[in-house]
């Protein structure tokens, strides 16, 4: 690929990128969120048809307009979210869309035998009659990979293939990838897990801010070298940078609001123990899929935990639903505005919904609701400044403020924020930091979940790092920096 550029609505996602993938090579692609690696791969896989620059395969110039065209040219992609059909058998998944037929009927015998043979050639030993959904996630992923290979792909793009896998599963995936490489096919391996990338890749390319920074032989580099180049010197971009060390102002003696012990929920996370303290912001950092989104939901009673306890004021806390959590003084702002706002309702109804029980027992008091809304509109400078405006008429940033305002009327004891600054511009991010600090200083216990190290570093007084559903490290009362976070995650 040569001189590839791509922009979204005036924002450059990729600028003048060259990228070379050789036959029989595993090419690791690393960079922070938004560095441009996914955008480049989507161009290759035909998911973005509009871009500048040229792309050549085997010396022939190509320009894909759809994933179908890319697939026809031998390019397949395995996304982080698998696209398997859990209710069909393994064989049906492998042959999805092109089942062998005999006189118009599906030829099951050929299909099962063919699937078994194909999987065995990759070293995957699994019953082709098994239901896909009954298999472990690692096997499902291998089978999806097998399907992409089976469809004739010569270039396979793997997006975060190891994020949900246990160490033995990662090991098995690598075995399969090596077998694929030995067959002369090429693999692009996108991952946040630098250890995994360095273990399997022949070549590593690092992206930062839409540019290719460097491509290097994997044997010659180590993790520290990669992190240094991923983050950069930190002064190139306008955005507030936290490459320097941050001293965490932890408050180990502040009273514990919520004690979490051994909390587990299925595959999402396991054996999580942490304390939420009054007047302290606890940051939970981890890569996409590390389980922190689920942990946030479990703390708000939305997701049922399968083991472990929550204790508040020395009493066990059982959260059967979100109403229980609200009554216990827990508030939650999810990562997506869409899932917490009522777009067809006026602003004041959006703000009062979570405190309605305090305002009115039986009969509503709309005048009180509007007063409360007007107070928030003024203090958060929401535009337009009317309580009656329909939520859908507000801009995104103002909608986010409304989402936060829901919980500010009678501040809860504990506030869980999931990705509070995702997709915001610098100004809006600063507003959020200001609001969160203000709440902390009023004595709330705050938990911030994020996949962006900057978000956690800018907000947290104490940080725990999650990796594959478990807490791997806690930083308290010490200095920490972005590369330290990236290193342990």
């Amino acid at each position: 690929m040569h001189g590839i550029s791509k922009s979204f609505g005036g924002v450059a996602a990729l600028s003048d990128v060259d990228f070379v993938l050789r036959r029989g090579e595993i090419h690791g692609l690393v960079g922070e969120n938004g560095a441009g690696k996914s955008t480049l791969m989507k161009i290759i896989a035909g998911l973005h048809a509009q871009y500048h620059g040229r792309m050549m395969i085997d010396g022939r110039e190509v320009h894909f307009r759809s994933a179908r065209e890319a697939l026809a040219a031998g390019i397949g992609m395995v996304h982080q979210e698998l696209s398997i059909v859990p209710d069909l058998t393994v064989a049906e998944n492998v042959y999805l869309g092109k089942q062998p037929t005999c006189a118009g009927m599906v030829d099951w015998r050929t299909m099962f035998a063919g699937a078994r043979e194909h999987l065995a050639s990759l070293g995957i030993d699994v019953d082709p009659r098994a239901r896909m959904g009954s298999l472990a996630i690692g096997l499902q992923q291998l089978i999806e990979l097998a399907r992409v290979l089976f469809s004739g792909a010569r270039i396979i793009i793997l997006d975060e293939p190891t994020s949900a896998l246990s160490p033995p599963e990662v090991h098995r995936l690598f075995e399969v990838l090596r077998a694929v490489r030995a067959g002369g096919r090429s693999i692009v391996f996108i991952s946040h897990f630098l250890d995994d990338v360095l273990a399997i890749a022949d070549t590593v390319t690092i992206f930062r801010n839409g540019r290719r920074i460097v491509t290097e032989d994997a044997a010659k580099i180590d993790k520290g070298w990669v992190i240094e180049r991923m983050i950069g010197s930190g002064h190139e971009d306008l955005e507030e940078s936290y490459t320097g060390a941050i001293a965490l102002d932890s408050k180990p003696r502040a009273p514990v609001i919520l004690a979490v012990r051994g909390l587990s929920a299925g595959r999402a996370f396991a054996d999580i123990s942490l304390d939420v303290r009054a007047g302290e912001v606890l940051g939970v950092y981890g890569f996409m899929g590390c389980g922190q989104i689920e942990l946030a939901r479990a703390l708000f009673g939305k997701l049922k935990s399968t083991a472990g306890t929550l204790t508040s004021d020395g009493k066990a806390l059982r959260l059967r639903n979100t109403a229980d959590a609200r009554r216990a003084g827990v508030a939650f702002v999810p990562e997506s505005r869409r899932s917490m706002l009522f777009y067809q309702e006026p602003v004041y109804k959006n703000m009062s919904i979570s405190v309605l029980g305090r305002i009115a027992r039986l009969w509503l008091k709309p005048a009180t609701e509007r007063d409360i809304a007007r107070r928030h509109i003024e203090s958060l400078s929401i535009r337009p400044p009317t309580a009656e405006a329909l939520l859908q008429s507000l801009s995104g940033g103002n909608q986010q403020k409304v989402a936060l305002a829901k919980w500010l009327t009678w501040p809860p004891r504990m506030l869980v924020l999931s990705e509070p600054t995702r997709g915001m511009d610098v100004g809006a991010k600063e507003d959020v930091v200001k609001i969160v600090r203000g709440l902390r200083d009023r004595g709330l216990g705050i938990v911030v979940m994020s996949t962006e190290p900057e978000t956690v570093l800018s907000l947290a007084d104490r940080i725990v790092v999650m990796k594959k559903g478990r807490i791997v490290r806690e930083f308290a009362g010490e200095t920490v920096s972005k590369d330290r976070l990236l290193e342990v995650a």
């Binding site: 708000f300 939305k302 639903n321 979100t322 109403a323 959590a325 609200r326 009554r327 508030a331 939650f332 702002v333 999810p334 899932s339 917490m340 706002l341 009522f342 777009y343 067809q344 309702e345 109804k349 919904i353 979570s354 309605l356 029980g357 009115a360 027992r361 039986l362 009969w363 509503l364 859908q392 008429s393 801009s395 995104g396 829901k406």
Partner: protein, 329 residues
């Protein structure tokens, strides 16, 4: 202005439909436009109307209750079962004082509604399937109690409410008015009513705001069961008999009234005002078609077509709103 019209389309379209129907039948038939006939129409929609009040709650939450007619039938039969019947009625019934019979009948419909609510919220059966099963259960209870016979007597209070009148106004119309008013007050001015709209508008957001969504859903299903039960008792008194399959047509009529009136099948939009318009449209249509020279078999087809048109408007209005929402940042 355009956005005002598209916002109010849900209310305007049914209202226009009603006006057009009224004008059409007034012109086409000499006997249609009279005070007596207006009273007729109101009486004819009363049983459907009381069912539709409960169903409005359910549909506002983006759920459905298919068991309303079956619960109405079962409740009507229960109240007759506990009333002393004439000698020639060959049902092994259990005569009780009228007040007790009414209380037992109310308890029965509340219980059936509660079973629905339990299945939907605790076990997690989709309301469409759960209430389909309850439809059969209600029919089964009706069948077991009357065993193919017909009961006639109901407690005198129920008989008055269903068939009596006060100052020229049938009591059944008064009861309908009370239910519509109560439904409107609850939906518009109480905390529970607000929760109903919010759960229907965005169930996930309601949950993330700490609303006990399952409790709200359970409650609307129970409300629907109780409204159906009351409608069943009124109906039995109004028709003068309690028997199997008596209310079979009322399921579709009640759903049609709510939806034709403009309450969104996707939840969160509409209300009792819409249901009133919907009831009047159905009532005027049914009554008006009897006043004009028309093939009585064609009537059924025309009703179907009107319902289809209303559904198209209902879904269309929703999709216009959706595209407006995603179109704006």
């Amino acid at each position: 202005m355009r956005s005002f019209v598209s916002n109010q389309m849900r209310n305007i379209a049914p209202f226009l439909t009603l006006i057009i129907l009224l004008v059409f039948f007034s012109v086409a038939s000499r006997s249609f436009a009279s005070f007596d006939n207006a009273a007729n129409i109101l009486t004819q929609i009363s049983v459907t109307g009381v069912i539709a009040v409960g169903l409005t709650f359910v549909i506002l939450c983006a759920e459905i209750d298919l068991s309303v007619a079956a619960i109405a039938n079962a409740t009507g039969i229960v109240v007759a079962y506990f009333t002393l019947q004439e000698n020639y009625v060959n049902i092994p019934n259990v005569p009780l004082p009228g007040a007790l019979a009414i209380v037992l009948a109310l308890a029965a419909c509340a219980f059936l509604g509660f079973v629905n609510a339990f299945g939907i919220t605790v076990i997690g059966i989709p309301s469409f399937i759960m209430t389909l099963a309850m439809m059969q259960i209600g029919a089964g209870i009706s069948a077991l109690l009357v065993r193919g016979q017909i009961a006639y007597a109901v407690p005198s209070f129920v008989a008055t409410m269903g068939a009596g009148s006060v100052g020229g106004i049938p009591w059944i119309v008064v009861v309908l008015g009370v239910f519509l008013l109560a439904g409107h007050l609850v939906l518009t001015y109480t905390r529970f009513g607000r929760y109903v709209y919010m759960v229907g508008g965005n169930r996930e957001a309601a949950e993330y705001s700490g609303v006990n969504v399952k409790l709200v859903l359970g409650a609307v299903i129970v409300v629907s069961g109780v409204c159906s039960g009351v409608a069943g008792m009124l109906g039995v008194a109004h028709f003068g008999s309690a028997q199997q399959n008596e209310f079979d047509g009322y399921l579709l009529d009640a759903i049609a009234a709510v939806v034709v009136g403009g309450t969104s099948l996707f939840g969160g939009r509409g209300g009792i005002g819409n249901t009133i318009i919907g009831l009047l449209i159905l009532g005027v249509l049914n009554n008006g078609l009897d006043h004009v020279e028309i093939d009585s078999f064609l009537k059924i087809l025309i009703r179907g077509l009107i319902l289809l048109a209303a559904l198209i408007i209902n879904v269309y209005v929703q999709s216009v709103r959706e595209s407006e929402r995603t179109g704006s940042p």
